[in-house]
């Protein structure tokens, strides 16, 4: 199967796409029997070093309902200067610019290696990126100080022409005016009252007093960026000013009495931030960055009351339907998230507190708008500081690794329909002939909006084969899918990336082995996991697990070879061999298990699971465990308690945590100080090796994982022990695997 593996990898590298099945069953019935749906993981902006964007408009199919982009899959009649859409078979004239086209003079989009191509187009005025800081001031002095520093630092990381704004909140919400000299002004809002966008704009003086002004100055341009500039100013103009302002930020001055939580108006603050941008910069790339140090305690979106004696809701409370504010708060944030998404803005949440901060309720803000969600213990940790810094990381070509306001349009050939997508997106409700009635994830549409994305943002897209059982394999034997992603590049250019892929059809009855061989178990595991997690958001945990189990059983039933009543005869082909193991760890993962996790943590984990690419997702499902010892080079070992040996150093990467665990003996050696003795330099190297590797991971991952260095018997060892398969414990040696 090496070929398939290569094929898959190659495709992924080129197109950022991984399908669960790389040979497609040709009938609906067969497809459903495959258990794992036909789906793909798409990384729309996958970084391509070798893909220089082209500076012209894509050529579109002229059929209004199709509008597919000219691709290498299209049939071209060079003489007639015609091309046939491979989705709707419409024949289209090339535009005049393509007059010189010929077999030897092909535009890039017709070359097979450009199955993925990026266009730079001129659409509308370019507006600079917008960063609106929404800062909680109900923090401990130390935290606030750290946060202020991070924010000040971030100013230097922003694009020079980016607009920044600042909203602070505590008991009140303050929108700071950044333009003024001398006295610093801010507009203040009550933290308990929800306002409509219109009200907010009126109160901020942003609504345009159309009549009088026009009379006075009829020549006024329709565009009035001046108005909004009071609150959003180019960084280069006001960075000193803003730095000072941030420096003067005080903790929320309202007294907090004993036994109370500070009153924190997160809900209103967000609402105002959304309203502000909505009124001034709709449909331009903007990030609302929320920094909060605790749960919202008042106003719309409050998650918990201000009485400390009533703790914030736990999973237990939620199960018992005992979370008073949850539904209302969730609704508030959902409304906000939808508005934000409609405007093409995104909301990041940076929540740093020891207790929960209401991520459960607020998660949709980040989930629906493609914003980041970061959870830490304090703003004064490197976890936050570096993660935040990494938001502004630049890619290989010096561009920010962020894009805004993307819309993803999926087109399929007739035998396929689109069932839905799971990822940081919302539906654009584009109905069409290729939209399936069966929904998986966010369905009912062929277009989604992804307000913010980065090169690793990955969506799962699910398809349904609609070819009837008896129908022949479609003409040409291949099915095709085209992904058209329009987005605002961080350089503020508008770009369109088009990926067109095709896969062979196969008759599942006669060619099952082809299909089987073309199974991408990794992608399938992730795709199934996303489905499971997606379900877990709305269903009871056990139901989801049961569903997952059943799917696994059915898959094994379908593809496994066994003799009835003989467990030992069970065999799965190589392309399926890892799949059950993924499922096993998935069941135990925090994505599906809420035990020992707060609702916030669950939301946090699930958020990241729904947007990371395949590799990272797999790590999340099944953490990677490397062993370092004198016995050989570092090697991955089973995520099993049997891998824990005294003379090993283990490095576990769960995506959220990096754990370095020194085996018993190693730990003793280290304590004895052998690493400092020149004659034991190799020991020193051994100790150093996992640190270096961990550092490498830490450098690249977003959000930055929690870094744990521990040893045998250390209290932090629990992070490792809780992940490994407990094959060996004090009382059930070898008990696993037995059917009980």
């Amino acid at each position: 199967m090496a070929t398939y593996m290569e094929f898959i990898q190659q495709n992924e590298e080129r197109d950022g796409v991984r399908f669960s099945w790389n040979v497609w069953p040709s009938s609906r019935l067969e497809a459903t029997r495959m258990v794992v749906p036909l789906a793909c993981l798409l990384t729309p902006l996958k970084e391509r070093l070798d893909l220089p964007p082209v500076q012209y408009e894509p050529v579109l199919c002229s059929r209004p309902t199709c509008k597919a982009v000219l691709s290498p899959l299209c049939q071209v009649d060079y003489r007639a200067k015609l091309w046939a859409c491979n989705f709707c078979f419409q024949r289209n004239q090339f535009p005049p610019a393509y007059a010189g086209i010929s077999e030897v003079n092909q535009p890039a989009e017709l070359m097979p290696q450009f199955s993925t191509i990026e266009y730079i187009v001129q659409r509308g005025p370019q507006t600079p990126l917008i960063f609106l800081y929404v800062v909680d001031t109900c923090l401990e002095e130390e935290d606030l100080q750290a946060l202020k520093e991070s924010l000040q630092m971030s100013l230097s990381l922003l694009p020079a022409d980016a607009l920044v704004g600042l909203i602070t909140f505590g008991r009140m919400v303050q929108v700071h005016e950044l333009s003024c000299e001398g006295i610093s002004k801010s507009y203040v809002f009550r933290g308990t009252k929800d306002l409509t966008a219109k009200q907010i704009q009126d109160m901020l003086g942003l609504s345009r007093p159309a009549v009088p002004i026009q009379q006075g100055r009829p020549l006024q341009t329709p565009e009035q960026p001046v108005i909004s500039s009071r609150f959003l100013q180019p960084v280069h103009k006001i960075d000193m000013n803003l730095t000072d302002l941030l420096g003067e930020l005080q903790r929320d001055p309202w007294p907090v009495t004993q036994g109370k939580r500070p009153l924190r108006s997160t809900g209103v603050a967000l609402s105002i931030a959304v309203g502000l941008l909505e009124g001034t910069f709709p449909n331009t790339g903007a990030r609302i960055m929320l920094f909060t140090g605790g749960p919202p305690t008042q106003g719309p979106g409050m998650v918990v009351g201000d009485e400390l004696k009533t703790p914030i809701r736990s999973w237990h409370d939620i199960e018992k339907d005992n979370a008073r504010f949850m539904k209302k708060a969730t609704k508030h944030y959902e409304t906000l998230a939808n508005r934000t998404a409609a405007n093409g803005h995104c909301i990041d949440i940076y929540a740093c507190a020891l207790d929960q901060t209401g991520l459960l309720e607020m998660k949709c803000c980040a989930n629906l708008t493609g914003g980041h969600m970061v959870m830490g213990d304090s703003f004064n940790t490197s976890l936050f500081k570096q993660t935040f810094q990494r938001v502004f990381n630049k890619g290989f070509n010096g561009e920010f690794r962020m894009a805004f306001g993307a819309s993803l349009d999926v087109k399929t050939s007739r035998e396929l329909k689109i069932a839905g997508a799971i990822g940081p997106c919302i539906s654009l409700n584009a109905k069409g002939p290729c939209v399936s009635e069966n929904e998986l994830g966010i369905g009912g549409t062929s277009q989604w909006k992804i307000c913010s994305l980065d090169p690793s943002t990955t969506l799962a897209i699910y398809f349904e084969v609609v070819n009837q059982h008896n129908a022949p394999i479609p003409q040409g034997g291949r099915g095709a899918v085209q992904f058209v992603t329009q987005y605002q590049h961080s350089s503020t250019q508008k770009r369109i990336r088009v990926t067109t892929i095709a896969r062979n059809w196969a008759d599942a009855q006669s060619q099952l082995q082809h299909i089987e061989a073309a199974f991408d178990q990794e992608a399938a595991a992730v795709l199934m996991a996303r489905l499971g997690v997606y379900r877990a958001e709305s269903e009871e945990g056990p139901d989801v697990l049961r569903w997952l189990d059943r799917q696994l059983i059915r898959l094994c039933q379908k593809f496994g070879q066994y003799n009835k009543d003989d467990p030992n005869s069970f065999r799965l082909s190589e392309s399926f061999s890892l799949y059950p193991q993924f499922m096993f760890h998935l069941r135990r993962s925090p994505f599906l298990q809420v035990f020992n996790n707060s609702p916030d943590e669950s939301s946090y984990y699930r958020h990241h699971f729904a947007r990371q690419d395949l590799t990272q997702s797999l790590i999340m499902i099944q953490p990677i465990l490397y062993a370092y010892s004198f016995h050989g080079p570092p090697e991955p070992v089973l995520l099993d308690s049997s891998s824990i040996l005294p003379d090993r150093i283990l490095l576990m990467d769960t995506f959220f945590q990096i754990v370095i665990y020194l085996g018993e003996t190693i730990a003793q050696w280290q304590k004895a100080g052998y690493q400092d003795m020149p004659e034991y330099e190799n020991f020193k190297h051994l100790l150093q090796a996992p640190l270096d590797d961990a550092q490498e991971i830490l450098q690249t991952r977003f959000p930055m994982p929690r870094y744990i260095h521990t040893e045998h018997g250390g209290s932090q060892a629990r992070f490792l022990l809780s992940k490994v398969n407990p094959s060996q414990t004090h009382n059930n040696l070898y008990a696993w695997g037995q059917v009980s």
Binding site: M172, S184, S186, V188, W254
Partner: protein, 1147 residues
Amino acid sequence: MSVNQQAHTGPPYGQPQPGYQGYQQPAYGGQPLPGVPQSQYGAYNGPMPGYQQPVPPQGSLRAPPTSGAPPPASGASLPSGHLAYGQFGHGDVQNGIPASAAPMQRPPASQSFLPGSAPTPVSQTATFQQYGPPPASVQQLSNHMAGMTIGSTTASAPSPAGLGYGPPTSVPPVSGSFSATGSGLYTPYTASQGPSPTSVSQGLPLAQPLFPGQLMSTQRLPTQVPGFAPPPSSAGIGPSSYPPSTGAPRPPTMPGPPLPGQTVAGPPTSQPNHVSSPPPPSTMSGPHPGPPMSGLHGPPPPTHPPQPGYQMQQNGSFGQVRGPQPNYGGAYPGTPNYGSQPGPPPPPKRLDPDSIPSPQLNELPPQQKPRHRIDPDAIPSPIQVIEDDRSNRGSEPFVTGVRGQVPPLVTTNFLVKDQGNASPRYIRCTSYNIPCTSDMAKQSQVPLAAVIKPLATLPPEETLPYLVDHGESGPVRCNRCKAYMCPFMQFIEGGRRFQCCFCSCVTEVPPHYFQHLDHTGKRVDFYDRPELSLGSYEFLATVDYCKNNKFPSPPAFIFMIDVSYNAVKSGLVRLICEELKSLLDYLPREGNMEESAIRVGFVTYNKVLHFYNVKSSLAQPQMMVVSDVADMFVPLLDGFLVNVNESRTVIASLLDQIPEMFADTRETETVFAPVIQAGLEALKAAECAGKLFIFHTSLPIAEAPGKLKNRDDKKLINTDKEKTLFQPQTSFYNNLAKDCVAQGCCVDLFLFPNQYLDVATLGVVTYQTGGSIYKYAYFQLETDQDRFLNDLRRDVQKEVGFDAVMRVRTSTGIRATDFFGAFYMSNTTDVEMAGLDCDKTITVEFKHDDKLSEDSGALLQCALLYTSCAGQRRLRIHNLSLNCCIQLADLYRNCETDTLINYLAKYAYRGVLNSPVKTVRDALINQCAQILACYRKNCASPSSAGQLILPECMKLLPVYLNCVLKSDVLQPGPEVTTDDRAYIRQLVTSMDVAETNVFFYPRLLPLTKADVNSDSLPAAIRNSEERLSKGDIYLLENGLNIFVWVGVNVQQGLIQNLFGVSSFSQISSALSTLPVLENPFSKKVRSIVDMLQVQRSRYMKLIIVKQEDKLEMLFKHFLVEDKSLSGGASYVDFLCHMHKEIRQLLS
């Protein structure tokens, strides 16, 4: 506190007093030679103690002190005994005066004693007199005696003594009074005491003599003093009839004098007594010289219009001596005493509408007067009354030891010595003698009301109320009615318990407060404790008296400045900011504190509000905009209210920047209610009380709570809907006011309207929170700047209390039923004021709910709980004792017309909220007619129906009432805007008596008559055009405006001197200040203007009016004795109308 104690000496005195009441009198009366002791007594008595039987002890103590005034700076009030004497003289006089009042009441006792000597009723007075003599040692006394002498000649033994004294030069006026008294006994005291109302009343009758009506007077004449001519009191308006002839008849009656008088007095009204004096009239006719007496007695006499008459009398008798003192009533008082000594009934004034009243002025030969029309000079003249009172009572301190004594008029400058009753600066009553029963009260229709100014400013010579700390358990109070410990509480059972003087409940004295009683039943520490010996004092409140059981924080001032287009353009914003920079250093502070404890905050606003963070640690102020005006809140806590000194630089920077920031504003709309809400919320958040200073320019039409619409509609005037102009257009502000009061948020409003801005609505909160409104229509920097800044300075600096609750407790039998003023009431008894400053007055009306007793009188205790400007919670207590009467005449004799007018005006001004203005006016006239008719029916001697008889104390009632009726609120002229009316309506509601007095009857001073070499003001003249001379310059002030009226024929030199221009035509009426010129006349005029400005709580607007200029219309509006353009009656017309009404009622 200790101050009082010096009084150790006091005790001795005190003791005697008790004795007095009973004994002394007899003793004295009989023997002219009181032993040494007597002398002492005399002294005491003089003070009043003696008289006031009810409260003897106190009186004594204090009396001396007051008199002592000169001596000890300390307690002024309690000079040592010896001193007392010396002082006495002075003191006595003063005391005496008050005492006189007392005497009246007491009739019974006195009678028994004095039978022989003097008319019974006056007995007390008599006693005094007697004393006086003995102590004679004191020169001062002698003075009085002088007066006495005269009297003596006429009648009783005392006289001799009097003679002896005579020599003393001391106070001439006093002497005068004595003389009047005729009886030697009185002389000394009477002089002092005599003046009391009674005397006055008498005076009036005198006047009458002139008229046919005189008959009445004649009857009374019985008094010994035939010598005196019953001066036809000015009051006596009687027809020209004065003809001496009438006088003649009287004499006859007179004869009966001494005794008859008594008899008469006893029974019906005191009047007869008064009359007695009249007889002399005939004699008097001669020269006026006599006046002397008037001086002394004068006090009461205010009524004197009759003076002229008196003078004559006096002259007759005394001639020379009195010469110096101008004519007056002084004489009258004296006389009256004689005659009736007892309680001479108030001398009624009579007016025969059809006939011409007799001229009051001596100069005018009665007969000459034509009868066809009423001579304006013959009708009671406010100027005359004021002058009389001033000269009679202005020179001596008013000592408050005696129950029910009528204080001098508000127009009189006098010092007050607190000896157990609150100073009239704190409380004034419509009557100091209350009918015992509600039937009487109803019959008389005289409203029983007290005008209370709890935090009144005292002149520097008077001592502020002492602060008493009763420790953790708080002030000692009656268990049942919760009245606070006061001088009237009676200690019993050896001091272990005390009986409440209000409800009679007996309460245990708390152990820590226990003190033994001396043999008179008085606590030994009587003089050590202000609450036992003074009428006004303060308690330190304990935490129980604080909101939420927490001691209050120091209050805060929040300045809220309108920065809309109008305000910025007119330069107002800049002006305010500039001024605040320096003004903030003068925030009120307590006593000797280094800096004010008051914190300040700043807000600007137009359609939205801008709060400023001026925390001292900031380099720059921070502005916080709140645009959610629908739901106001305060955006910051820390840094909004700051200490001025700590945040000085930040505040200065802010005040510099505010005008700049809004220099280009185009915002014309404003909000208003949210501004108040913001202030309120700020104070709430800071958990303190405070005051908002709002500078506002326009009708708040921006979308916000409390948004108003322009509903001005002059067509509503004189319709049933007129009242809506005074009502707020929305109840929103009422609710807001309630919240403000609950928090102790007082709102002061400075308005700068260029058009209608609905003062009636905007002022609601101000009004109900005890704030002040200042209005500067068409504000212009050049002309109005000074006025505004002065007002602002004063408003910011003046003493103010916060979060105040006032309750008035009364003796069983009457009850405070109605309240007028700027405050809020959440129940029927407690007056709540978010802020109460030294200018705010509350008028309280009392009604009977049971009978009162003549013996115990009626007591008032006004307790004000408030937070001082340093944040200290205190209780200020004012106590006042009043007499009670079963004779209506006593009521009429002890009335205070100015106070009455204050009450009536407030009552009427409230009435317009609910009834058509016409109804209100009619009701006023009707009530007044009933009052006078009742007097005529019950107190005046029978006379022809054609005669108008006015009680001496109320002879100005018609003229003042007419002024009220003609005021802008009740009868607006065409140029008066709706806002003005609402403004004035609210303004009057919290005016004190002095303010209403000058507001309704403006002061008109002939500037050209001013003596440039003296400090004094020229004598005022009556407010009538016919009094103005084309060749003179006049100044008219009513507390809001100062007009300088320039006649067309004024000498050029004067014009040059005053205006710096060469001719009349060059005078600019646009001037808002007089040019500063270096010449005596200019200096004098400017000093007069300055002096007037200082006297008033608001800086008056100066308007130059040239005769026959357009502005003269406005000016004429204030000539209140004339017919007004808006239809108001002239004084004479109104008097006739009144008379008709009375006749109707009587028939």
